[in-house]
Symmetry: C2
Amino acid sequence: MKKHNYSAGPCILPQEVFQEASQAILNFNDSGLSILEISHRSADFVSVMEEARELALELLGLQNKGYKALFLQGGASMQFLMVAYNLLEKKAAYLNTGTWSTKAIKEAKLFGELDEVASSKDKNFNYIPKGYKIPSDADYFHCTSNNTIFGTQIKDFPETDIPLVCDMSSDIFSREMDFSKFDLIYAGAQKNMGPAGTTLVVVKEDILGKVSRQIPSMMDYKVHIGKDSMFNTPAVYAVYVSMLTLRWIKAKGGIKAMEERNAAKAKLLYDEIDRNSMFEGYAAVEDRSPMNATFNLKSDTHKETFDKMWKEANINGLNGHRSVGGYRASMYNALPLESVQVLVDTMKEFEKKSGK
Amino acid sequence: MKKHNYSAGPCILPQEVFQEASQAILNFNDSGLSILEISHRSADFVSVMEEARELALELLGLQNKGYKALFLQGGASMQFLMVAYNLLEKKAAYLNTGTWSTKAIKEAKLFGELDEVASSKDKNFNYIPKGYKIPSDADYFHCTSNNTIFGTQIKDFPETDIPLVCDMSSDIFSREMDFSKFDLIYAGAQKNMGPAGTTLVVVKEDILGKVSRQIPSMMDYKVHIGKDSMFNTPAVYAVYVSMLTLRWIKAKGGIKAMEERNAAKAKLLYDEIDRNSMFEGYAAVEDRSPMNATFNLKSDTHKETFDKMWKEANINGLNGHRSVGGYRASMYNALPLESVQVLVDTMKEFEKKSGK
């Protein structure tokens, strides 16, 4: 029996993608070869890489607008470093909305002056700071669109004349937006886009080449762009499964359709969190993430009972991150509404059983 | 019909590994979940990572000798950079035996003074320089054990008192050696060890922490060691398939058994290259690599005929690298002797057909 997989990432991907991805390990494109044993320079794989890059730009509405898409290695953590290597000449502005922003700030500090324009650390990152000022003399402004651990999401991005850089690891391809307001977007694949092991970088070319330092080849976006994201052997299989997932998103109706699916799931769960007398939400209501719903028991008296109940309901990965405790339901694109219904039913049943 | 896969990397892996790797995409460890959708912090995956790291040390005979094994991202090209970041304080010594050494030297130059102790560039890298001197005041000595493109291999490594660093991407786990003479070994997985997307680093801990620069977290071996190779989300699937391949190597009898397999394949092919009137070897005989045999037609008159013949024999990936031309037969651990026999038979038949 298939589980209801709420893992925060790596996380659920479409079942159709798993089927095709499994088959390609045995016989890729009817070549008689596994996708794991073919050259990354073979026509078959070059076409996978090209399709993945094109689909990423197409779904984001960024084709023919001066952007390039890359599939690199090292996760968002490597981008914390690469962003600063490529863009930070003197000073950068960062918004601190949680663990990942904090790490991005730490790495960038090695390259220049850091202006932390605002932080929600005072309330353990349960909200998104607003009304902050972005210094116009900074080289770029960096923010994290969705905070997996705390369950918050930026709804309105600031207007600024300096380059806008965004870590969208946990909500890319999940909601419609004018992506052309961003100059650099990066995202570890392992949420809405694919398996762990590759990271999408979408960068507007004209912001590059402006720092005076010498950039090592592997850190240099221009080097990767110049080699069509194949400067060295890419993470072949992770790119392939990402391509399959991007194809699935497109076939289902693109980001618009994903946003509708995600909104329905989020409404179902947040309504129950607010209604159910046993639970309370963690994040500020206006900043709630449709991707990661964080919630706690009002009292831990019946924690064991609830934990037993959701595990028996075949739910997986509901435990909250240690920085927040309680529960976290990650509802990425591929999670079906039915899985959320199972969780909501379990919460209702728990209230009936253990509530006053 | 299964192909005879001579790809230079990514390359053939054991068929048993493909079977298990394909199954795990649908249902990993009977969990009802795909290995692509589980948390990297789950007990099931943590145990994969631990087993992969342990197996690597065990097969190399480096357990309990002060070494740590890491599975990182970015390929050997990222190691060109990380080695210098972590070890190069003032001056480093490099041996230049081909394309990869040249690239390693280029990246390291950003971090300090480079002493290229010897180079075989004068003869398009068709031999391994010998009798060079390693400066005793260098921070480390770096070499490439096997040169995939040119088909050469270092048979005797130099004795030196400074740390010995080796890029073993294309021959790790293929031959017996006293690996404890090395202080840092790295290898992209995509030859003898697994699919593209992860890189093994085996490092003696006591050589670390001696440079004065601040190292970004993702570049810092100590950071990765401190987090048991899980500082951030690792390349889950690539590590898993590497673990399966390392299990296979162990089950087959370890590196000793691999060396015997590889020696038999290399003898079969090189004997034919030397015997056959149509071909000549590229690399100096004493430096020939058992992993990658490079050879050319003595005359290109019948090139089309030979190319047609090997393709009809279901042979894949035999074209030489553009820097050398001709042919390259990569015979990594998982390539069966039968595949080499098919190639040798094809060469014989070609001689009969087109030879004088």
